[in-house]
Symmetry: C2
């Protein structure tokens, strides 16, 4: 399976925000993440970078 884990950048650390993410799309002024089970999470953030072979997506909080 080709899902990835989404981490939220917090200074020097990356905090796990959601596992097994399938889709990410814009939602209002942030992002909607949906995992492979259909569970949704919303976050006021943008996609900073990703490494698909490592199954990592890094999100970064955005200002309101």
């Amino acid at each position: 399976m080709c899902e990835a884990n989404a981490y939220l950048k917090d200074g020097e650390n990356d905090i796990l925000f959601m596992e097994s993410v399938d889709t990410i799309e814009p939602y209002e002024n942030g992002l909607k993440l949906v995992d492979i089970f259909g569970k949704q999470k919303f976050i006021q953030a943008k996609i900073k970078d990703m490494a698909l072979l490592n199954h990592r997506i890094i999100l970064e909080k955005t200002e309101l």
Copy 2:
């Protein structure tokens, strides 16, 4: 393999920009994409959305 194809949004169409993308990271005022063979491409764009199980990443051009 869990690479994805990156498409550039052009109105109603999505134009294939790069195949077999592994990593995407910010670069200057756009993005640097690296494929599984190590080839690099740069684009003045942001990540709009993605569907990993479908191996699709949609990029959107940004203004200078």
